[in-house]
Every structure is written in structure tokens, then in C-alpha cells.
């Protein structure tokens, strides 16, 4: 009888171990599920960032085109009369002064060049500031994205780490429980045989030294 009595005893240990394994599997599944959600979160954050940058790009690109011309204009190397506004005014004045003498025409164009030379720099600055403004916005967006991604990775790492650390503990517990049970078997058999030969009456309590290693100590 001792032979079969050992089966539920060992199975009891097995059940306790299975419980630990089930809890651990669930913790890992929870961490994996959480990781998938964090991945979705990061993809969403990246999508918003990309969309914002895409919207900022036309202004940024336009501003960038003014950087070199402005630097040249500051050094007095630029050609202010190539601007669209200078050409526009030149066209208007050409019609208005068509019937006038070269002297007057030269006077007019000389004034236009002098004034446009200064205005040109200011307008190039305007265009750069448009680019710079959206660059600031892009920087803020990038900073927010970086923060969001870092937080998301941190949450994911923390969750997975906790689950993996729990796994290590659970494995260790499972080993310990199994080894305790297995190593206690010989003594159990011997004790059980003794009990069988003496025909002791059943003892449902836990006072018997025979029962103690396998009592309700599993959970």
C-alpha cells in the first residue's frame, strides 16, 4: 500500500510545482502582451512624429535655401536685383519711366538697387526665420518622441525583467520542491512499512512523524 500511497504524495508536489509554473507562464505572457502593446505605442509615437516632421518640411526646406544667400549678402556679395521683388519693381518702373531720359532712368534704377540691397537681407532673414521656427517645433517634437520612446522601452524592460526574475525564482523553487520530495521517499517507504507491519490505526492529524515532510506545506 505504501507504494501507491506515494503516488498522490508525489503528485501533490507536482501539482504545487505546476501551480508555480502556471503562475510563471502567466507572468511571462503578461510581459509579452505588455511588450506588444508598448511596441504599438512606439509605432504610434513615431507615426505622429513623422507626420509632424512631414508637415514642417516645406517651411524648413524653404528657410534652408536662404542661409547661403544671406551669408553672401552680409558680405556684400549677393545680387539683390535677382530677387523676384526687385525684378517686379524694375518692370513697373520700366513702364512708368519709358518715355523719360536715360538720366532719369539711371537715377531711378540706382535708387532701386540701393534700397533693394538692404531689403534683400531683411527678406532672406525672414525666410530663414520661417525655417528656424519650424526647426524649433521639430526639435520639440523630436524631444517628446525621445521621451515617449525612452519611457516605453523602460516600461517594457521593467515588466520583462520582473517576469524573468520571477521565472528564475520559480525554477529554483520547483527544483527544491522536487528534490525534497524525491529525497524523502526512502524514509517514507521505510516508515510506511513499519506502520503496515504494526497495523497502526489511521492518524488523520499531522502529529505522525511519517506525515510531516509531506503535509500541507505545498502551497
Amino acid at each position: 500500500m505504501a507504494f501507491w500511497a506515494a503516488i498522490p504524495m508525489i503528485a501533490s508536489t507536482g501539482s504545487g510545482i505546476a501551480g508555480q509554473k502556471a503562475a510563471q507562464d502567466a507572468a511571462i505572457s503578461g510581459a509579452e502582451s505588455s511588450a506588444r502593446i508598448e511596441q504599438m505605442n512606439r509605432e504610434y509615437q513615431q507615426k505622429v512624429f513623422d507626420k509632424n516632421i512631414e508637415a514642417q518640411k516645406p517651411f524648413y526646406e524653404a528657410g534652408k535655401t536662404a542661409i547661403d544667400p544671406y551669408a553672401r549678402a552680409v558680405r556684400g556679395e549677393g545680387n539683390a536685383m535677382s530677387s523676384g521683388l526687385a525684378q517686379m519693381q524694375k518692370g513697373l518702373l520700366a513702364k512708368d519711366t519709358a518715355s523719360m531720359s536715360d538720366y532719369v532712368k539711371n537715377l531711378t534704377s540706382g535708387r532701386l538697387e540701393a534700397e533693394e540691397g538692404e531689403k534683400y537681407k531683411g527678406r532672406l532673414l525672414d525666410l530663414q526665420q520661417i525655417g528656424l521656427g519650424v526647426s524649433g517645433s521639430a526639435g520639440r517634437t523630436a524631444s517628446n518622441l525621445g521621451t515617449s520612446l525612452a519611457q516605453s522601452y523602460a516600461r517594457e524592460g521593467q515588466t520583462e525583467l520582473a517576469a524573468r526574475m520571477g521565472e528564475q525564482t520559480a525554477l529554483s523553487n520547483m527544483w527544491t520542491q522536487t528534490m525534497d520530495t524525491l529525497s524523502g521517499l526512502p524514509a517514507y517507504y521505510e516508515a510506511s512499512k513499519g506502520q503496515q507491519s504494526s497495523r497502526q490505526k489511521p492518524d488523520y492529524g499531522y502529529g505522525s512523524g511519517l506525515n510531516q515532510p509531506y503535509g500541507n506545506n505545498i502551497a
Partner: protein, 252 residues
């Protein structure tokens, strides 16, 4: 969750059982039966008849519990994900409305940008003299001519110089008006872009919080599921332990 076997996990080669049994076939059978799976009731009764056939009766005793727990887990996940999805959808809807409000300003700015660039950097400027320009020119020319006529200098170079200077002022004003108009349009567009961008970031942050909460909820849901399963197994373990004690006290 499938059937759990201690042996598969901890002693797949059977080395531990071999060692512990010390070559005793009976002990080895017990250990093999007990560790091959955990449907002890079936294992015990069938094993009594034919120990070698025990493994075919072993199954996960948590099947019934597992199915119900799995269903509860699915339902909890559905609720959590549904709640998060509704929140995200609501936030996206608000963001879409904001984008639609600002879209005309943004679109106008983007379409005005090439003109502004052409005005500054060079290129074709799509320009037609304004009505104000035509009006000011007409009034200005008349006033200058009248003044010069009153001085008897109508056809003089001085009159032409005054007129040319006036035309220069007028052209410069016209250019500034055109430039100012396009510049304002573009600036309104960048303002609209900034507002939409900031709103998008707030939406993303809020959506991120929803995702973060959902992740924690999933973790908690699985944690509860695991705790419940462990508790069920523990209950079974205690029952089996009691059974073991009972069988032993029967003494044979």
C-alpha cells in the same frame, strides 16, 4: 496552458529518477507515474491496474478550470483593449477635428511658399498691379503735374525726376504689400502647423498613457490569471497530500 509534466521540465532524461530509485523497479515506476503528468486520480486508479499504461491517462487536471479561466482572461482583455481603443479613437477624432480647423491656413501657406521664395530668392513672381497701385499712381501723377504746372515746370526734367521718384516710392510700396501678404500667409501657415503639431504631440502623449495603462492592465490580468491557476493547483496539492496521508494510515 497544456499538460504540465514535471519530468519533461526537470528530469527529461530520467537521470534523477534512476538515481533516486536506486535500480528498484517499483520505486522507478512510482516516480515515473508521479512525475509524468498531473492527473493523479486517473494515474492512481489506472496505475494500480497497469502501471505501464498510466501515461496515456495523464492529463492536465486544470483543463476545466483552464478553459473557464482562459475565457475570463479573454473577456478581461477584450474589455481592457476595447476601453483603450475607444479612448484612442476619441483622441484621434479630436485631433482630426483640430487638423481640419487649421488645414485651410496650412494649405494656403504651403501654396504661398513658392511665391514668397521667388520674391526673395528670384524666380517668376505671379504679379498683377493692385487697384491701390493704379489709383495712387493716377492721383499722384495728377498732383505732381498740377503742382509743377502751377510753377510753369510741367515739361521740365525736375518734373520728370519728381515723377520718377514717385514711381519708385509707389513700386516699393507695391512690392512691400505683395511681399507682406505672402509673408503673412506663410507665417499663418507655420502657426497652424505649430498648433497642429503641438496638439498631435498632446494626443500622442495621451495615447501613450492609454497604451501604458493597457500594458499594465494586461500584466495585471495575466498576473491574476496565474495567481488563480496557482491557487487551484495548490488546492489540488493539499487534497493530494491529505489523500497520501490517508492512504498511508490505512496501512496497507
Amino acid at each position: 496552458m497544456g499538460r504540465f509534466s514535471i519530468k519533461d521540465v526537470l528530469d527529461p532524461g530520467g537521470a534523477v529518477i534512476d538515481k533516486v530509485s536506486g535500480g528498484n523497479k517499483t520505486t522507478k515506476d512510482i516516480l515515473n507515474i508521479a512525475t509524468a503528468g498531473i492527473d493523479p486520480t486517473t494515474a492512481i486508479y489506472r496505475g494500480m491496474e497497469d502501471p505501464d499504461s498510466v501515461s496515456s491517462y495523464l492529463a492536465d487536471p486544470m483543463d476545466l478550470f483552464g478553459k473557464r479561466a482562459d475565457a475570463a482572461l479573454d473577456e478581461q482583455q477584450r474589455v481592457a483593449e476595447g476601453s483603450a481603443a475607444a479612448g484612442i479613437s476619441s483622441l484621434e477624432q479630436q485631433q482630426k477635428q483640430i487638423e481640419e480647423l487649421y488645414a485651410p491656413y496650412y494649405d494656403q501657406a504651403v501654396s504661398a511658399l513658392p511665391q514668397l521664395q521667388a520674391m526673395i530668392m528670384g524666380g517668376d513672381v505671379d504679379y498683377t498691379p493692385s487697384k491701390l497701385y493704379d489709383y495712387q499712381k493716377e492721383i499722384g501723377e495728377r498732383n505732381i503735374r498740377r503742382r509743377q504746372a502751377s510753377k510753369g515746370q510741367l515739361g521740365s526734367t525736375a518734373t520728370k525726376t519728381k515723377l520718377a521718384s514717385f514711381y519708385g516710392d509707389l513700386a516699393a510700396e507695391e512690392a512691400e504689400r505683395a511681399y507682406g501678404g505672402y509673408l503673412s500667409q506663410v507665417k499663418m501657415g507655420t502657426g497652424a502647423e505649430s498648433a497642429v503639431s503641438a496638439s498631435g504631440e498632446r494626443t500622442a502623449t495621451n495615447v501613450g498613457s492609454l497604451y501604458g495603462n493597457l500594458g499594465q492592465q494586461q500584466q495585471a490580468i495575466y498576473g491574476n490569471y496565474g495567481t488563480a491557476r496557482q491557487s487551484a493547483y495548490s488546492g489540488l496539492a493539499n487534497t493530494l497530500s491529505g489523500l497520501s496521508q490517508y492512504m498511508m494510515t490505512q496501512g496497507g
